[in-house]
Subunit: 377 residues, 2 copies
């Protein structure tokens, strides 16, 4: 293990990149998918399972953890790794995104954002400095700057104002983070769907020489082609030698298309949230296990999978568990979904190394296009 | 494995019995605790985990399974073992108890009981014959007669009427079950808290020469000493060479006291249900993890336990999960609770074999009396 935070590109295939981030708590093979561990738990999973699926890093949410159990408490308990029994790398977000989507009575200005907890109404404040402080208390390995992420579509003036303030917050965050050799703080490119603003944001962040860069404010309501077009124009301006993280993305196809454009890291609640709502991701697309067509189907979700949840349990049983609102439904479908996401990532990594990313992408899309098995019987 | 259903006593210590039930799907070491797998799942557990904790047999509920997914459907899918991926023995109840506690618009007469589903209001009927038919469709290894279980306290006439009808239903059930060498149908002793009725019920059932006998209608609201006094008078009338199953019992102390009196088998929702409500059973009694005293406590539930849920996770983390209503709270606490119950059973089995049951019981009670750890810090 390295005592410093390092990123190395191992191979490229077209614009797709195969790399590795090395840091004291372990290596992250990229392209990487980071399961979302909102409140110190990847919902309905044991973290041992999450690890066994090939997850090198998980994400923790500052907003949730600062409200409950509290960052100072987690620090007293040895940090988030010890608290949740995950000794491997953790990335934390800044809290800003959830403040905007979950908290009430938000007041945002140049200083930061004041809000009330959605849990108990208590008052809190997040500034760039406090967010970095909280992420330090959690002992997070990759910390994110506080930014302002606005929903699309939006007016140019509003997008520009938020982007410029996010740049100033990046500088404050970098100063608050200081020099921590084994850890990293990433800046976040903003600018909505306006290419010139994205480019300006990316260039100004690059000049700060941060250890990694995220693209934020995408997958917030815009069509996929807008997101991809934005990436097409933004990624060339971002440093080649730093990891690139597309925040909150996405569907398997979003991820495939973004890796093709040079993204290295992803996080998304889709596989875990879908698993709690009866939806399974497979090589052949999405399967809704609530659907009555599965009630008498003895076939597994994917008999060729290495994951027990995908291979061993019948659709009939999964359907029954979903209909009965059993915890095991969430446990098995989340397991299946994370297994599928991580197998997609591992397939992409191998394909890039072998110089066969396009073929892999075509075969993957062809599987999705084939669709699920025909009805049983 | 035996092709027939057999029960063998290996050792006795006082009235406590150490035995083994052998049947085609496996052995059940007694005294045995059967985790409750209501709807084909032991809630919030993978059945692999349930097995690894030392569970030789689990219980399935006819009432739940007949309503959803339906007994005929389970049969088409290969029976309950294949459906739930539990290849080991399964005991099913008759459905009668849940009809009384969960269904609406119940009409009970000599024929059986008609009721409406608590799920969708649909009409159903359970007769002694239909209950055995359903248990056969589920491919249950140990099937229970339909009986009428009434709440205590109750009038003598009412207790006697229900007990006498349960005896007639036992005969109808035995006839419906017929001769199935690898399986067993158990009769159920009823009679409330009235010893002469219990004795009459036990004697009449013994005369039917069934493969096992349960004591039903206890732990339904009466004090523990009434239950134990009833067992004291009833057990001597029950056949020595057949397994004895105390239905729906109970707390660790109920189980310890009942094994001391000669009971061989137990089932209860307590460890699983408590696990979903933030309660942990340990060697030192019950721990309520909702309690704020655990919020900053880095100590595990029981550092000497072999179960990861009990040994590896801090009380602070468990408290956080319970407060946050996370699925992992149920998963870990149910795991801890079943681990404790099964370690209690295994401790009793070893103690009976070694002729040290009284010492084991005294040490166990002394642990409970010691109580939980003092507050941290």
């Amino acid at each position: 293990m390295s005592e410093t935070f390092q990123f190395k590109l191992i191979a490229t295939d077209g614009k797709a990149r195969r790399g590795v981030i090395t840091m004291p708590r372990g290596e992250v093979r990229t392209p990487a998918f980071m399961p979302v561990g909102t409140a110190g738990t990847v919902k309905a999973m044991y973290l041992d399972q999450v690890r066994e699926l090939g997850s090198d890093i998980i994400l923790g949410n500052v907003y949730h953890l600062m409200l409950r159990p509290g960052a100072e408490r987690v620090a007293r308990l040895g940090g988030l790794h010890d608290f949740a029994l995950w000794p491997h790398p953790i990335l934390t977000d800044s809290g800003g995104f959830q403040v905007m989507s979950l908290a009430s009575l938000r007041e945002l200005d140049e200083t930061g954002v004041r809000f009330r907890s959605h849990i108990d109404g208590s008052k809190h404040e997040l500034t760039p400095e406090r967010s970095i402080e909280i992420q330090g208390l959690l002992d997070s390995d990759i910390q994110m700057q506080l930014d302002e992420c606005i929903r699309l579509p939006a007016e140019r003036a509003e997008i520009e104002r938020a982007m410029e303030m996010s740049l100033r917050w990046a500088e404050r965050s970098a100063k608050a983070f200081g020099n921590q050799p084994g850890k990293a703080m990433f800046g976040i490119v903003q600018g909505g769907d306006l290419i010139d603003l994205r480019v300006r944001s990316a260039e100004r962040l690059a000049a700060m020489d941060l250890k990694g860069y995220a693209v934020g404010g995408l997958a917030v309501g815009e069509p996929q082609d807008v997101m991809l077009a934005t990436l097409d124009e933004t990624l060339p301006v971002m440093p080649v030698d730093k990891p690139r993280y597309l925040m909150g993305v996405g569907t398997p196809d979003d991820i495939l298309q973004s890796v093709a454009r040079g993204i290295d890291m992803f996080d998304c609640v889709m596989p875990t949230r879908a698993g709690r709502h009866g939806l399974a991701y497979t090589r052949f697309g999405k399967v809704n296990l609530k659907n009555a067509r599965h009630a008498d189907d003895p076939r597994p979700l994917d008999e060729a999978s290495g994951c027990p949840a995908s291979r061993d349990y019948s659709r009939a049983y999964l359907h029954h568990l979903v209909r009965s609102n059993e915890a095991l439904a969430s446990m098995l479908l989340t397991w299946n979904n994370l297994a599928y996401y991580q197998s997609l990532m591992s397939g992409m990594r191998a394909a890039i190394e072998a110089g066969g990313f396009d073929d892999f992408a075509a075969a993957t899309k062809s599987g999705w296009a084939r669709g699920d098995l025909p009805p049983y019987g």
